[in-house]
């Protein structure tokens, strides 16, 4: 029942296929020429859906901690070079879901996950997959800005590269490029050696985004990236998301429905660990198909 909504909405002509037309930088173009069939379903009905340009796909994903099951079978595609928003009331499993997308879920003691999460068609929950390598391809931005306090602004940007023992041809150029990408360069270019902690909250969050961009990930997961920021800083980060989506696939968890409406191409509504509705953002917010979705976005619960 949960996963039927997206299937019903548009197996062939909906947003899912339309979005293939969206611009993407040639360097990152990994799309196939022909639509490939993919199962976005689990127990009950086996429906084949043609989803083109899905960068990641969760298939019947169950996850939780110890005996508690937080995600009760989520099937959801994450479209390439698009912004996917995940909304839903607290405790519905939004964060758990995106933390499963880069194997960060398992960092917490007693955490478990079952099902499949495909990344470029490879199951990252499968045996023999190195979570460290997954996380280099699927970066993450957290709720509270978390720059490394012992490092300067410059070193924060280079942190991933250095800690992973990779080489940068030109560190200075790299730092400038990443800070420009997040529109922070002009604000900090004279203070690159100062601590990342000396910045304001919004600047810190952009620094954290720059830090994850430096790893050149394909996907960026954002777990309520603006909930600790004021409206002005929030607007900057949202602008940034707009800029980034030509090059990156973005999944953003948010409590703020206006934010989802502003930044996302597609939106998924979670409730109690299940996916209630999934579709392009416009229809979710203007013509929700499920009663629960409508209740939630109109503020009747949650």
């Amino acid at each position: 029942m949960t996963y039927e909504a997206p299937l019903r909405s548009n197996p062939s002509e909906g947003k899912i296929n339309l979005n293939v037309e969206r611009g993407a930088s040639p360097r990152r173009d990994v799309r196939r020429d022909s639509p490939r069939p993919m199962r976005v379903n689990s127990e009950a009905t086996e429906v084949q859906v043609h989803v083109t340009g899905a960068k990641m796909v969760a298939e019947d994903l169950h996850a939780g901690f110890g005996t508690a099951e937080i995600l009760k079978g989520i099937s959801l595609p994450v479209l390439d070079k698009q912004v996917t928003a995940i909304i839903g009331p607290s405790g519905c499993g939004k964060s758990t879901f995106i933390r499963c997308l880069n194997r960060m879920h398992e960092v917490v003691p007693k955490a478990w996950a079952k099902g499949r999460v495909l990344f470029d068609q490879q199951n990252i929950l499968g045996k023999g997959v190195d979570p460290v390598l997954v996380r280099r391809r699927v970066g993450m931005v957290f709720q509270k800005p978390n720059p490394f306090p012992t490092m300067s602004i410059r070193d924060n940007v280079l942190a991933g590269i250095r800690l992973n023992g990779m080489k940068t041809k030109q560190a200075d150029a790299e730092v400038e490029q990443r800070l420009r990408q997040v529109a922070l360069w002009d604000e900090v270019k004279d203070n690159l050696t100062r601590s990342g902690m000396s910045l304001s909250g919004g600047q810190q969050q952009r620094l954290c985004i720059a830090r994850s961009l430096a790893m050149e990930p394909d996907v960026i997961l954002m777990d309520e990236p603006c909930s600790a920021l004021d409206p002005i800083a929030t607007a900057r980060v949202e602008e940034l998301i707009h800029e980034l989506r030509s090059q990156y696939t973005i999944v953003i968890v948010t409590h703020n429905m206006q934010q989802a409406a502003r930044v996302a191409d597609t939106t998924a509504f979670f409730y109690m660990g299940t996916l209630v509705e999934y579709g392009d953002t416009d229809s979710i917010f203007t013509r929700p198909k499920e009663r629960k979705t409508e209740d939630y976005i109109t503020g009747r619960f949650g």
Binding site: V107, F142, T150
Partner: protein, 282 residues
């Protein structure tokens, strides 16, 4: 309703009284520290001369001489003890903080707490039985082992506590960048907690630098230079003890001077460690 001058004033008075009591308690706590430093400096500084740092002790009853061997002996003992005690302590602390939530971790933590309560003379006896009785002679090694055992629980627990203070957000930030866990622990978590850990370790060093009891039957003492770590070794605390209970005026003078030097050594170690690990970015 809003005007209730009596209650407001009462609260103000209570505030002043309690605050005053805190200040008095603070002064009472600082007085011994101040007096110790004052006495050690006042009595000790007069006994300091070049001979004190360069000469060996004179034969019993003879004036002059110095404590060159005891000063170098103490430095040697502390260095060896740090070598034996700090690395395992830090590693155990990392284990307890990052992996130690299971039964084994609790067991280790409990043992460390029990260990830190064991009287140091008991540890001296233990090392005496363990090493000295086997090799049949006192040695700097035995003394350093005893001091290391005393340091171990302090270093372990300090490291653990300070690593726990590092927010999980930083661990996640590093893991989220695809940094392996061991590197996250060493380069981010340990690095962030380093200034605090260094301070804790310095306290542990300061404590063992002044230990006398465990050295009495491990490193023992030596009136001459010891040529290797396998020989009995002089140390400032033991020398202070010997000289202070002696009947000779000049030895009393030297005991005070030794106490002053001991305090100075601890202070210098402490300050230099702080400067070394201080966070460079502001």
């Amino acid at each position: 309703m809003i005007a209730s001058p009596y209650r407001y004033q009462l609260r103000n008075y209570t505030d002043r009284i309690v605050r005053g009591a805190c200040v008095v308690a603070l002064i009472l706590a600082i007085i011994p520290l101040g007096l110790v430093l004052y006495y050690v400096t006042a009595h000790g500084i007069g006994g300091i001369d070049l001979n004190f740092f360069t000469k060996l002790p004179t034969p019993v009853g003879e004036n002059g001489g110095g404590m060159a061997n005891a000063i170098s002996g103490t430095l040697e003992l502390v260095a060896l003890a740090s070598l034996f005690g700090i690395p395992p302590g830090i590693l155990a602390g990392i284990y307890l903080s990052e992996y130690g939530d299971k039964t084994f971790g609790r067991l280790v933590r409990f043992s460390a707490d029990v260990m830190s309560g064991i009287p140091s003379i008991t540890i001296g006896l233990f090392v005496y039985a363990l090493i000295v009785m086997r090799v049949k002679h006192f040695s700097a090694i035995a003394g350093a082992v005893a001091l290391a055992i005393i340091m171990l629980p302090t270093v372990t627990r300090t490291t653990e506590e300070l690593l726990r203070l590092v927010p999980d957000a930083l661990r996640e930030a590093a893991l989220g960048l695809g940094v392996p866990r061991y590197k996250t622990t060493l380069r981010i978590v340990l690095r962030t907690a380093l200034p605090g850990i260094a301070t804790g370790i310095m306290l542990a060093i300061a404590r063992v630098a002044g230990e006398t009891a465990p050295l009495l039957f491990t490193a023992f003492s030596n009136r001459f230079w010891s040529s290797s770590v396998n020989e009995p070794t002089a140390s400032l605390p033991v020398q202070i003890y010997t000289y202070a209970v002696s009947p000779y005026e000049d030895w009393h003078r030297q005991a005070w001077a030794a106490a002053f030097v001991l305090v100075a050594i601890v202070l210098i170690l402490n300050l230099s460690a702080r400067v070394l690990v201080r966070n460079k970015v502001r």
